[in-house]
């Protein structure tokens, strides 16, 4: 699947396109098919996203999994500071990115 990611213009937070708006959680990301450019152009112009782009991902039992480790680290947070990630209570969260 193709999903969209970018950053929130004001806060810089990593965001994912959930079909309606931008979510902090990669598991909300939806397949945008061939519409990546259209959505990004509209959302960028409206300043709802900054520096957005499309990436490959797969959907498995663990949810939406970006194809590249860089995007998986973006989705989680720094693996060396799990306390600052989106899963601060899960000490094993870092293994998901590998």
């Amino acid at each position: 699947m193709k999903i969209l990611t970018g950053n929130d213009l004001k806060t810089g937070a990593v965001t994912w396109w959930d079909g309606v708006q931008w979510s902090l959680h990669v598991e909300d990301a939806v397949d945008v098919g061939d519409h990546a450019e259209t959505i990004l152009a509209r959302e960028t112009a409206a300043r709802r996203v900054n520096a957005g782009y499309a990436i490959d991902a797969v959907k498995d039992e663990g949810g939406v999994r970006p194809g590249h480790i860089k995007e998986r680290i973006r989705a989680l947070g720094p693996t060396v500071r799990i306390d600052l990630t989106l899963k601060p209570a899960d000490p094993e969260a870092g293994t998901w990115v590998i």
Binding site: V14, I69, R74, G77, V80
Partner: protein, 542 residues
């Protein structure tokens, strides 16, 4: 320390308001990200892997305690309670909000700090020896000269859109503690036979994907022509540096392609012309700056002995302290490399504690080192034990300066959008694995970069590690024999790379080969230079 006058303060304050205006225009949609990006970069604001990142300049690595305290307060107020000290003596915050960035710059300006030119294709923060003004072996304190360069390079109208970024370092000792020859311009202040101070210019060094050691292009530029000569070096680069390929755009490629002689001839011709333009600040200005770097009021009666009865303290004293030019004093390195920690990271509380300790024990002053540690430059030997106890309690007393646990590491793929692999977890594992053998191994500088841009100085590590992306999987290459000191050399790659656990094993094996082969008193680097790569390769791949 240098104190801003009303002119310096107005420059920084005006810049804050300019950036506030630029941010407003961006948030209101008057400018696009493409137009805004160079503006925010000129103010040190990146869009990184997780958020905006702000890089704050620490000119020549020198901080007052008020400045260090403010860095800690900013970490709490605008970030997530910590900051990362970098190999260019700067500090980075990882979780910045664009809408708050102008307020951070305003807070920095209150303590005479800024983020000007910490990114972009311009002259970056000028770095120096972290022991400047304290080291017993320096010809002169290099910081006034670095301050002169700071002012000259700030908002330089001709050199704000160079082919690529431009980094300068100024030292004044034969022992190079600032990796001077790995800079675009490295200046070593020297004294000639008449006793006059001059600047030896090394131009065209750098790391990155094409590491080069800067050649000496002029052994003695009179000190009242240093700025003019720098301007000539830059003008030749601005006109003829490559702009067709960003990976060939650094000055090292120009110097290499033209050849040292041709580049130097062009600089000398431009220099002759520029001498007629009267652009050099007068010596009065240098004197004004120098007057602010006079020695603090050292106590001539300070006892010159240290009670070393506590063995843990004695170990730290042996490892982390450097002789001072004044009897009764010593320069102290606070390690930001606790075993298993994140190299260069400091919490807001640690920053405030270091600020307090600098005020109480080091004449209000501390330094950031290119090895991502903090120095208290002027500590009374009589205070050393008390100081160490406070550091130790706060997790800042690790005795590992220049040891295998004192790892330089870039933020890597945990934070950086340019990285190909993570650096920090590798540093943590190596530090945990080998900390027990640290004393036995002795001096060993290990440096890790998460991509070929080499922010972690892997080319210059006695042991260097380069993280690469191999078909989407992190892979680590091992280099041996690099050195950033006076005998600068570039590390050589051992062979095929390793996975994360494999690279930790490989480093351990490398230290075992060294320990078995070492002859009396040899450091790792000495043994490597004597025996060469072969026995290491044999142990790693044989």
């Amino acid at each position: 320390m240098y104190k801003y006058d009303s002119y310096d303060q107005a420059m920084v304050d005006t810049r804050v308001e300019e950036f506030r205006d630029q941010v407003k225009r961006r948030l209101e949609g008057h400018i696009t990200e493409d137009q805004f990006k160079p503006l925010r970069l000129m103010n040190g604001l990146y869009l990184q892997l997780h958020a905006y990142m702000l890089r704050v300049a620490v000119p020549y690595g020198t901080l007052s305690s008020a400045q260090m305290r403010m860095l800690g307060d900013i970490a709490d107020k605008y970030d997530r309670g910590y900051g990362h000290f970098t190999t260019r003596q700067n500090i980075q915050y990882n979780w910045i909000k664009l809408e708050e960035a102008p307020d951070i710059l305003a807070d920095l300006a209150k303590v005479e700090m800024h983020a000007i030119q910490t990114s972009g294709n311009c002259i970056r923060n000028t770095t120096s020896d972290q022991y400047a003004g304290a080291a017993a072996d320096e010809v002169i304190d290099p910081r006034p000269y670095a301050e002169l360069i700071r002012q000259w390079s700030t908002f330089h109208p001709e050199f704000s859109f160079l082919p690529r970024k431009f980094k300068m370092a100024v030292i004044a000792s034969d022992t190079d503690r600032a990796a001077m020859r790995l800079h675009d311009i490295g200046i070593q202040l020297v004294r000639n036979e008449m006793g006059e101070i001059g600047a030896a210019f090394y131009v065209g060094g750098g790391m990155g994907r094409t590491p080069m050691i800067a050649p000496l292009i002029n052994p003695f530029v009179p000190i009242d022509q240093m700025i003019t000569y720098s301007e000539a070096c830059l003008r030749v680069y601005n006109r003829y540096g490559r702009r067709d390929n960003k990976y060939k755009a650094r000055i090292k490629i120009l110097v290499h392609e033209l050849g040292k002689e041709d580049y130097t001839a062009q600089v000398e011709a431009e220099f002759l012309h520029l001498l007629s333009q009267n652009i050099e600040p007068p010596l009065d200005e240098l004197s004004r700056i120098k007057a602010q770097f006079v020695d603090p009021p050292f106590d001539a009666a300070a006892p010159d002995t240290i009670d070393r009865s506590d063995p843990d303290f004695a170990l730290w004293n042996d490892t982390n302290c450097l002789p001072h030019k004044k009897p009764g004093y010593i320069a102290v390195t606070i390690s930001l490399k606790p075993v298993g920690g994140i190299p260069g990271d400091a919490s807001a509380d640690q920053m405030r504690l270091m600020a307090d300790l600098a005020r109480e024990y080091s004449f209000d002053e501390c330094r950031v080192t290119h090895a991502q540690n903090i120095v208290l430059p002027h500590v009374r030997k009589a205070d050393l034990y008390t100081l160490w106890q406070q550091l130790d309690t706060a997790g800042l007393g690790t005795a590992n300066l220049d040891r295998i646990g004192d790892i330089i590491a870039c933020p890597g793929l945990d934070y950086c959008s340019l990285a190909n692999a993570r650096s920090i977890p590798v540093a943590q594992k190596i530090s945990e694995r080998l900390s027990d053998k640290s004393a036995a191994i002795g001096e060993l500088k290990l440096k890790i970069s998460g991509c070929i841009n080499a922010c972690g100085h892997h080319h210059a590590g006695h042991i260097g590690i380069l993280g690469v992306d191999r078909k989407g999987v992190e892979n680590y290459q091992l280099l041996l024999g690099g050195c950033e000191g006076a005998d600068t050399s570039l590390g050589q790659i051992t062979g095929p790379g390793f996975d994360e656990d494999g690279i930790v094993d490989a480093v351990e094996k490398t230290t075992e080969v060294y320990l078995a082969a070492r002859q009396d008193g040899e450091r790792f680097l000495d043994t490597y230079r004597r025996v060469g790569m072969a026995p290491f390769k044999e142990a790693l791949y044989g």
